[in-house]
């Protein structure tokens, strides 16, 4: 009864856009169950120990014989915890391969490579031969009910990739490639933070995972692969002010690789850690540090207002 109440409370107190509860992925569901089971067990254990302690501290009570107290240590301190922990550990170890395979031999329906950068995410969709099909940033679009292999890398410092609703986290370490399997089970939009401290704006390094039907995903993917250029002179201000040195927009001459790929920028939900609005975009280009302290992108106080507006127009129209 108490356990049921507690688990209901736990679940209701813990759902949200970035929560480990209300799972929308296979790994997250399995872990959710494990958390509920262990949390309820822990609450019971705590209740028993605390009651014993309060009882033992009472002035008027039965005084135990030494042998009884000795037996109490043997059973309460050694035997029962050992049995319980052994059972719990067996259950958890048994459940591990179901969440993350012991050996990485499975076939993936989709392969994605995500690289942590200070303080954003470089996302590359790979084609079947393992080459980069196209690149995007900070928004991870995924098809529902497919097994997706995500290769995790980092260039500068250690980051950690985590979308709580889909599964546990995995670190991105320079010099290594880690693998994480995602299997979204529910359509929706889920938030994920960087989970390893990575510098000044670590708090602002966030990612959105958008889980869509396979058809929608395919449409989007084909659109990105066969991206046709927006009209050439629309991007003139973008070109003139040197943006392509760092940024790429597919289908144009802008091919910079240092910063995020800005293709289809209009569709992005967020800009840095703020909403993707014209006003924010204007201010972001003026001084990215205002939004993300310590960002690699320099401030551009020298771009004339007209030019800046033209760049904003261009990006805001880029689909």
């Amino acid at each position: 009864m108490a356990a049921a109440l507690l688990s209901t409370f736990l679940l209701s107190a813990c759902t949200g856009p970035q929560s480990v509860f209300g799972a929308a992925g296979r790994e997250a569901s399995a872990i959710e169950d494990l958390i509920v089971v262990t949390a309820v067990g822990a609450a019971c254990a705590w209740f028993i120990v605390t009651s014993l302690l309060i009882y033992a501290g009472r002035v008027r009570r039965h005084r135990f014989a030494e042998e009884t107290a000795q037996r109490f240590i043997t059973w309460g301190g050694v035997v029962i915890p050992t049995v319980l922990l052994f059972a719990l550990l067996s259950y958890a170890l048994w459940s591990m391969p179901a969440t993350r395979p012991w050996f990485d031999r499975q076939q993936a329906d989709l392969e994605i490579e995500v690289t942590g950068e200070q303080y954003w995410w470089r996302i590359r969709y790979l084609n079947t031969s393992g080459d980069v099909a196209f690149e995007t940033a900070n928004e991870l679009k995924l098809p529902v009910d497919r097994r997706i292999r995500v290769s995790l890398k980092a260039n500068d410092v250690i980051h950690s990739f985590w979308i709580p609703a889909l599964g546990g986290k995995m670190d991105m370490i320079p010099g290594r490639t880690n693998t994480l399997w995602l299997e979204p089970t529910r359509i929706g939009s889920y938030r994920g933070p960087c989970a390893e401290f990575c510098g000044t704006s670590h708090a602002l390094m966030t990612l959105t995972a958008i889980v869509m039907t396979m058809e929608d995903f395919e449409t989007w993917r084909q659109g990105r692969i066969n991206k046709s250029p927006t009209s050439a002179d629309a991007g003139a201000a973008f070109q003139r002010n040197g943006c392509p040195a760092c940024h790429a927009i597919d289908g144009t001459d802008a091919k910079g690789l240092v910063g995020p790929n800005l293709t289809a920028f209009k569709d992005r939900l967020r800009l840095g850690a703020a909403a993707n609005t014209r006003d924010n975009l204007f201010r972001f280009i003026r001084d990215a540090g205002e939004f993300k302290p310590g960002a690699q992108m320099p401030a551009f106080p020298m771009i004339p207002e007209g030019e800046l507006n033209a760049i904003v127009d261009y990006l805001a129209g880029e689909t």
């Binding site: 929560s19 790994e27 030494e66 370490i173 938030r191 401290f197 000044t200 670590h202 850690a273």
Partner: protein
């Protein structure tokens, strides 16, 4: 057994004896007070300093909480916030949690063991001054906006990025290395003190549990801190000279730091937690008014916890992508450690059940602490399961978990200890009323602050974020946490007020106000001598089981009741059975301890700012002070061979070899030193295993020069061993010749060791392979250099008549150093010579 001259002395009255004893142990007055080395003073200064650092780190925590009270707050800048939480964690761990127990141990152990002093009082003083200087250096950095800002775990490559971390990372690495030296010094002191300075009759199975725990913890420090020091060395070499240990581009690997850091970092948790449980193990029997139930259980459990704690470190790295099979192993080990921890809690409950508990403030804090700690232990069982950790790792769930463990398992018992032991400091109790108010504020404030963090964490709030948006549902949890944090802080403020408020109007209480059974309660707050006379112990709770003991001790009816020759003396006993074997003269008041600490501090500060000339000057000064300290304070041939210590017992004043405290101290220090060296060798093989060809095709030191060096070092070792034995045969001249030969061979050996990498022009900035070879070689050569200084010291002692056939402590200890140096040489040269070839 007593000698003729002792019997010739006219017997002196007890009052006269007491006067002499008081004069010998008196602290100097005026400003010289600060040169005092008495364990009571050092313990109190140490504890007060650690407590001040705790308050400082607490204020940082309140700033952090204030910033997080509401979403998108702009109270603190991102960079200041990052400095604040880094320093909060660093200070709490290194400047409060570990030192406070060294402090309490230095203060309590001598009277608890029935000793006058710990064996090396000057070493304690040196440790304290090092701690103070290092701590001020680290904490002060935040006032210059130069504090470390990469988290207390200092993960490279973020922390090796000079542009991001600035000088803060150097301050962390060097300031804390300095403090780690102090911690290891304290560990040596405590181990030798507990093993060799117990009162006669206090066999090892009669030791107070506090001493057992501290022995285990000091042993853990000895094995846990050196890997971090090794890591610090690699780290500074990368930061200062660009040796690429953690740079993936040149063969390094950031994960090596994580391994070294957590091999230190996880035992650290138990290094903090076990002494607090030790305090509980003293408090619970007193208030249950009966001996502890399950003495063997709790000792075994403490040993088990200490042992297992070295096999858990990977649970801090469950998300780094290590093979699942190793995760499963470390998960099992992490669950296993819950068992001995549980045993200790059940021992307390069983003791309470079998006794009748007297309600009191110490029990309130102790019990409240356990209630909190159990929550942390149980969430620990949860996150030790690998899948749960994948979700919970680096979230506020962990922040809640670790604070439940550390505050429940450490801070509450410490406050219980303050209320319990305060009468030993000031002969008066603290206020019951203020204690209760403080407890309820702290207890409720703590839970209000930290319980909601479990939910914030499960809702996905990561650690170390300076801000968060309003739309993810963390705002209420954070607001509640912040309110709780301030309530908690109010409780701590009340404890501080209670301790500091003037109490001279309050009448002095009785000597053993809680009617405790253990020996520390015979100590008199106004006296410096620890115990008036050193008793014979026959029970685990001598004050309960040996009637009249207090009176007999105070009247000087046991050993060493006076100080006829004017020296500070204590008894040295055997390790297991505590049979008296020596009357040890310990070091007295000295300014050398402060000067050496300042010189060593100067070395670390100067390196931080790359002031190389000042570094060299400070290092030279440090060497001079240490040699002066050793020359004037250690291994001094006494004026007579034996001394009557009372009760018809006569003991030698000079003992060398394994019976002496100096030999043990050298041995223990070398075990710690060897552990640091082992960590560097671990680094070598770590690189060797992660790469297919870890030499990257670069030239190695070859086989010839390492083998030549090895031969030279081995010959030097044989010469030293021979020198020791000819010295015992009164062949002083032959001894000097042999030591001189050994010295030459050592110099040549060092040169040959350097020749390998020098002649093949290994460039340590090019790749990790030459870098790690160079580090091993430099480690060996610097140890050989220290060995040469020791040999010169022995020669000088011999010429000045302080090293003779019968008084050979110096030589015996240096030979002991040589055993370790030879193992180091064998390992280093074998590894660098053979292992690139063997694949």
């Amino acid at each position: 057994m007593s000698s003729v001259e002792d019997r010739d002395q006219t017997p002196i009255s007890t009052d006269e004896e007491e006067r002499q004893l008081r004069a010998v142990w008196a602290n100097p007055s005026g400003w010289r007070y600060w040169t005092s080395v008495n364990n009571t003073q050092i313990g109190l200064w140490y504890a007060a300093t650690a407590f001040l650092f705790m308050l400082f780190a607490g204020v940082l925590a309140l700033l952090v909480r204030a910033q997080l009270a509401v979403p998108e707050n702009d109270l603190l800048s991102a960079d200041f916030f990052n400095q604040a939480f880094t320093l909060h964690g660093t200070v709490m761990m290194f400047l409060f949690a570990v030192p406070i127990f060294e402090a309490v141990a230095i203060f309590l152990l001598p009277p608890m063991l029935g000793a006058r002093e710990l064996p090396f009082p000057r070493l304690s003083a040196f440790g304290f001054w090092s701690f103070l200087l290092g701590g001020v250096f680290v904490c002060g950095s935040i006032f210059f906006d130069a504090a470390p800002n990469t988290g207390w775990f200092m993960y490279p490559p973020l922390a090796t990025d000079k542009q991001y971390s600035g000088i803060g990372a150097d301050i962390w690495l060097l300031g804390l290395s300095f403090i780690e030296v102090a911690s290891i010094a304290a560990a040596v002191e405590l181990i030798v003190g507990i093993m060799k300075c117990r009162a006669p009759g206090m066999r090892i199975n009669m030791m107070p549990l506090f001493a057992w725990y501290l022995l285990i913890v000091a042993g853990m420090i000895l094995f846990a801190f050196p890997p971090l020091i090794a890591g610090d060395i690699l780290f500074e070499m990368e930061r200062m000279f660009d040796w690429p240990f953690f740079d993936a581009g040149r063969g390094g690997d950031p994960l090596l730091w994580q391994h070294l850091f957590w091999i230190f970092g996880h035992p650290e948790v138990y290094i903090i937690f076990l002494p607090a449980i030790a305090l509980m193990a003293m408090i619970v029997p007193t208030f249950a008014q009966r001996p502890i139930i399950g003495y063997s259980w709790i000792v075994l459990a403490a040993v088990g916890t200490g042992f297992l704690s070295f096999g858990l470190w990977v649970h801090h790295m469950f998300t780094t992508g290590l093979p699942q099979i190793s995760l499963a192993f470390f998960s099992a080990a992490s669950e296993a450690v819950a068992i001995p921890t549980g045993v200790q809690i059940f021992v307390f409950i069983a003791t309470m059940l079998a006794g009748r508990v007297i309600p009191s403030v110490p029990m309130l804090f102790g019990g409240g602490g356990l209630v909190i700690f159990v929550v942390g232990g149980l969430t620990g069982v949860m996150v030790a399961l690998v899948p749960i950790d994948w979700q919970a790792h680096d979230t506020y769930f962990i922040v809640a978990h670790l604070h439940y463990v550390l505050i429940g398992g450490m801070l509450f018992p410490v406050v219980a200890g303050i209320y319990y032991y305060y009468p030993l400091i000031n002969a008066r109790k603290l206020s019951d009323r203020m204690g209760k108010i403080a407890f309820w504020l702290m207890f409720s404030g703590f839970n209000i602050a930290f319980f909601p963090m479990h939910f914030a964490g499960l809702r996905g709030m990561p650690r170390r974020v300076f801000t968060y948006p309003a739309d993810v549902g963390w705002d209420w949890f954070n607001m509640i946490s912040t309110v709780g944090a301030f309530v908690f802080a109010t409780g701590i403020a009340i404890v501080v007020v209670d301790v500091l408020r003037p109490k001279h109007r309050q009448p002095k209480g009785e000597a053993n106000p809680w009617n405790a059974g253990t020996l520390e309660w015979i100590s008199e707050p106004e006296e410096n001598w620890g115990v008036r006379s050193i008793p014979i112990i026959k029970s685990r709770y001598p004050l309960w089981d040996q009637p009249g003991l207090r009176d007999d001790i105070a009247k000087g009816r046991f050993y060493l009741p006076g100080a006829v020759e004017g020296y500070r003396e204590t008894l040295v006993t055997s390790v297991l059975d505590a049979e008296p074997i020596q009357c040890l003269r310990v070091g007295g008041t000295s300014y050398l301890t402060i000067l050496s600490a300042m010189a060593l501090g100067g070395v670390f500060v100067a390196i931080t700012f790359h002031w190389w000339i000042i570094t060299a000057l400070c290092a030279a000064a440090f060497l001079a002070f240490v040699i002066g300290w050793l020359w004037t304070g250690t291994a001094i041939p006494p004026e007579k061979a034996e001394k009557d210590v009372g009760l018809g017992l006569s003991l030698p004043l000079y003992v060398s070899g394994p019976a002496s405290v100096g030999w043990w101290a050298m041995f223990i220090t070398l075990v710690g030193d060897g552990t640091a060296f082992g960590s560097l060798v671990f680094g070598y093989f770590f690189y060797w295993t992660i790469h297919d060809d870890f030499t990257a095709g670069l030239a190695g030191p070859g086989l010839k020069w390492p083998l030549v060096a090895l031969g030279l070092f081995a010959s030097a070792w044989i010469a030293m061993v021979a020198a020791r034995s000819v010295n015992r045969g009164h062949r002083t001249r032959d001894m000097r010749v042999l030591v001189l030969c050994a010295l030459m061979l050592t110099l040549l050996g060092g040169a040959a060791a350097l020749a390998g990498p020098l002649l093949t022009q290994m460039d340590p900035t090019e790749h990790v392979y030459p870098a790690i070879v160079w580090v091993l070689v430099l480690w060996l050569v610097s140890h050989a250099a220290v060995g040469v200084v020791m040999q010169l010291y022995c020669l000088a002692r011999s010429f000045f008549g302080r090293l003779t056939a019968t008084h050979d402590i110096d030589l015996v200890n240096v030979v002991l150093y040589w055993h370790f140096l030879t193992i180091t040489a064998l390992t280093t040269l074998g590894v660098i010579g053979l292992f690139p070839a063997m694949r």
